[in-house]
């Protein structure tokens, strides 16, 4: 878990300081030297336009981390608001809000994501909005469950007896107790956002070039698996190790917070 944490912090540092670390500019083209294998000049080789893959991967780290962190956070925010209201108010309102979720849940994710990205348009904002709008549903269900359980607690009764407003009870007494669930969920949502972004690149709805993310790099590389394995190896490794780190961190945090959940 400590290793995971260190790794994730390192990723964040790379994201922020990428320009200082990378040996070349991410969009510098040496067309004479395209598709070169890894060497001393280019640790991870070069791509079809002769760009340094290592530099592009570092650049991609920033984009992938930003997109996944933002989508995970906004999905969490939306999901928490919806789930908390539904769970806290309860009764008929809860019933209807959950039925609403049933409906959204029955629409295929991928279809929704594509329709939204196509409508909103290209680039990071489209991807970010589409992924967050799909991701909040599971969060909402989770938080609702937690809130339903927590609001029966004695201290909530006590707060109510002292005349605390509903908003205050929710914000001060119930939600802080869900923080463990939230953090664990966050560590699981980030990797799935990274994957979802790579699927979007696969379909052709990824980032606008010459920007790169791990997803777009993996997508540019998978067809070359047999011919230029370095193009796919390094982006896949980056995704894999990051997922591993987040998952172990999530498991570790779950033990720390003693959260009984998975889903």
């Amino acid at each position: 878990m400590i290793i995971s944490l260190v790794f994730i912090i390192a990723l964040c540092v790379i994201s922020l300081l990428g320009d200082f670390i990378s040996p070349y500019a991410h969009d510098l083209q040496e067309t004479q030297n395209s598709l070169a294998s890894p060497s001393f000049e280019h640790w991870m080789g070069t791509d079809e336009l002769g760009r340094d893959l290592f530099s592009r991967l570092i650049y991609g780290t920033r984009v992938s981390m930003a997109v996944s962190l933002l989508t995970a956070l906004s999905a969490l925010f939306l999901g928490t608001c919806y789930g908390a209201i539904s769970g806290y108010v309860g009764g008929r309102v809860d019933n209807w809000m959950m039925r609403g979720i049933d409906v959204l849940y029955a629409i295929p994710d991928l279809l929704l994501i594509i329709l939204i990205t196509v409508v909103i348009g290209r680039g990071i904002t489209g991807i970010f909005l589409a992924l967050s709008l799909v991701g909040w549903i599971t969060v909402a269900r989770l938080i609702r469950g937690e809130v339903l359980r927590l609001k029966e607690n004695a201290y909530v009764e006590a707060a109510r007896a002292f005349g605390a407003t509903h908003l205050r009870i929710l914000l001060r007494h119930i939600l802080p107790n869900t923080i463990g669930v939230l953090i664990v969920t966050l560590t699981f949502r980030i990797p799935s956002a990274i994957l979802a972004e790579s699927t979007l690149s696969f379909i052709g709805l990824g980032l606008t070039p010459p920007a790169a993310s791990w997803g777009t790099l993996a997508n540019e590389g998978w067809k070359a698996l047999k011919f230029y394995p370095h193009l796919i190896l390094f982006p896949s490794l980056a995704i894999f190790i990051t997922m591993l780190a987040f998952n172990f961190l999530g498991d570790g945090l779950r033990d720390v917070f003693d959260v009984n959940q998975e889903k």
């Binding site: 790579s198 796919i232 591993l244 009984n260 889903k263």
Partner: protein, 305 residues
């Protein structure tokens, strides 16, 4: 029980109607029309085509026409595939997706349960570490990379399995693996977590005190309860697997339905978009219903509301 069942079935109708309505209107907001082509059509021809499919009518009229057809079970004509209705397209491709999806489900269950149970039973040993490493790998490799890797290893180098196409029983193995390994990894994680949690329950302590062996406790008691969360996700998982996956069908050239979740959108084949969405939604609703009905059988502590 029967009343509950009927109520759930009835509830499915407004759910499907809302799904249809939401999809219908989002779909029409998307820029670009079904008959926009690189080689531009003279306006007269464009008008002829639009008239043929009622695309020149106001959107609300189109919507009510669609719902009318839907009530009769008619999903409309495909705009892209001339002379085929959406019902035709779905009945051609859905069976293939179901076959592939069920084999993938089988792989997901077998691999997932074995890895997960091993991991849970021998928590914090090297077996656990290895299993969880595998499980993380399973959910962290994009499916297109996994597919390409499977083809390269099993068809190209080992020459064991066909790389693509849908000719005989061997054709199903690679795509089913590509489809099933990610859910397998997910199931493994789920069952591991669930086993660990159950191990702290009172009944396990009691059993231990009575002198049952750890293996016995695991198989007789723990597993019985730990399986519940897996059953919950099997419902929606099955629905997702049997409606097909664009990525896997694309890479392995499988003639299934999943491809239309993407191509119907890129072609702006409106009736086909609606068709595949409704099939998916209906299966999700049905799967969740089945899970709820099965639940009391698995876990007697739970009763239907």
């Amino acid at each position: 029980m029967l009343v509950y069942f009927l109520r759930r079935i009835l509830w499915a109708i407004p759910v499907l109607w809302l799904v249809a309505t939401i999809t219908f209107f989002i779909m029409h907001v998307v820029p670009g029309g079904p008959f926009d082509r690189e080689k531009k059509l003279p306006p007269e021809i464009q008008a002829n085509i639009e008239a043929k499919y009622h695309l020149d009518e106001p959107i609300l009229i189109q919507y009510s026409l669609y719902l009318k057809g839907l009530l009769k079970g008619d999903l409309g004509p495909s705009y892209k595939y001339v002379g085929r209705t959406v019902n035709d397209v779905i009945s051609d491709t859905l069976p293939v997706s179901i076959q592939l999806g069920l084999v993938a489900l089988l792989i997901a269950l077998i691999v997932g349960l074995i890895t997960g149970i091993t991991s849970g039973a021998f928590a914090n040993t090297i077996w656990d570490r290895m299993s969880m490493f595998f499980a993380t790998a399973g959910i962290s490799i994009p499916s297109f990379v996994l597919g390409a890797l499977l083809i390269l290893i099993f068809s190209h180098y080992l020459k064991l399995l066909p790389p693509a196409l849908w000719e005989n029983a061997r054709s199903v193995i690679l795509p089913a693996c590509a489809l099933g390994l990610a859910p397998a990894a997910y199931i493994a994680r789920l069952i591991r977590a669930s086993i660990l949690e159950e191990k702290h329950q009172d009944y396990v302590r009691t059993a231990r005190a009575k002198g049952f062996s750890e293996m016995m406790i695991l198989l007789r008691h723990v597993l019985k309860n730990a399986i519940a969360p897996v059953v919950t996700i099997i419902g929606p998982l099955t629905a997702t697997l049997v409606t097909g996956s664009f990525v896997v069908e694309f890479i392995f050239s499988v003639p299934g339905m999943g491809q239309f979740f993407i191509t119907a959108v890129t072609n702006r084949d409106y009736p086909l978009i609606m068709g595949v969405t409704l099939v998916y939604a209906a299966l999700i609703v049905l799967a969740n219903l089945l899970v709820d009905l099965l639940y009391p059988l698995i876990d007697p502590r739970i009763k239907l509301e």
